[in-house]
């Protein structure tokens, strides 16, 4: 999943869960059914899972542009300089 996708997924997950919670409480209170509240919320959790957890293609529409191989060869990697070790006295 690309960065843009990850951001969208996080927001979507939070919004879906909060909305499921709110709808669950409102419907449960209105119908005086605790069971309704729990079922609606469980449904909402399942929905949120299906939408946000799998790596759907539309979360990959903004892939990172990695450096081209030919361009990389023009800029050599920096060399590691051997460090001086300070001896303990």
């Amino acid at each position: 999943m690309d960065w843009q996708g990850q951001k969208v997924v996080e927001q979507l997950m939070q919004i879906l869960l909060v909305i499921s919670g709110v709808v669950a409480v409102v419907v449960g209170y209105a119908t005086e059914s605790f069971r309704a509240m729990m079922l609606i919320y469980a449904g909402g959790v399942v929905l949120a899972t299906l939408v946000t957890v799998p790596n759907w293609p539309f979360y990959n529409h903004h892939p990172l542009k990695w450096l081209d191989q030919s361009e990389a060869e023009k800029h050599p990697k920096p060399q590691v300089v051997a460090k001086k070790r300070f001896s303990k006295k």
């Binding site: 990850q6 919670g21 409480v25 005086e32 605790f34 509240m37 919320y41 949120a48 899972t49 957890v53």
Partner: protein, 167 residues
């Protein structure tokens, strides 16, 4: 959010947190229910009234208990626990409470009831103070929720009196 496991974990944790909030709201909504229970207890008969070998008084009574506790039930109620206690004062204790009968009411439909019964639990005093004793019969109830806070309250019915002599 870069991996399946990370997203699944984040979602599960957040979902459980919201579940806790939902349950708290459901419990809080119980504060807005209008409760108007009613009850009446009639003592039909004092079956016997004796002093036990150890010196404590014991009474057996038959009561007629009528109550309508339907308004106590909300959408968040699992069951209502109701009990009848005899309450009186002695020189030794300011308050004596002896539980005589109790019941678990699992549904609203069963909360409007009438029962004629002798005391389920023994009415034994700490001592021998019961002759001619004035006492109250109190119907207590505990509304046990599906989630959250339990509410308890009572109706006190006074004016009952035990006989002056053993029978």
């Amino acid at each position: 959010m870069h991996s399946f496991g990370y997203r699944a974990n984040a979602l599960l944790t957040f979902a459980v947190t919201i579940l806790a909030f939902i349950c708290a709201i459901a419990s809080f909504s119980d504060n807005f229910s209008n409760q108007a229970p009613s009850a009446q207890i009639q003592i039909l008969n004092i079956n016997w009234f004796q002093k036990q070998p150890h010196g404590n008084d014991e009474v057996s009574l038959t009561m007629n208990i009528t109550a309508d506790l339907q308004s106590l039930f909300t959408w968040n109620t699992k069951q209502v626990f109701a009990f009848v206690a005899a309450e009186y004062e002695t020189s030794k204790n300011t308050l004596n409470q002896v539980s005589l009968w109790d019941a678990i009411i699992p549904e609203k439909e069963e909360a409007n009831f009438w029962i004629q019964i002798s005391n389920k639990y023994r009415f034994i005093d700490q001592g021998h103070n019961l002759r001619g004793k004035d006492f109250n019969l109190t119907l207590h109830w505990h509304v046990m929720p599906k989630t959250g806070k339990m509410f308890a309250d009572k109706i006190v019915m006074s004016g009952y009196r035990l006989p002056n002599a053993y029978r």
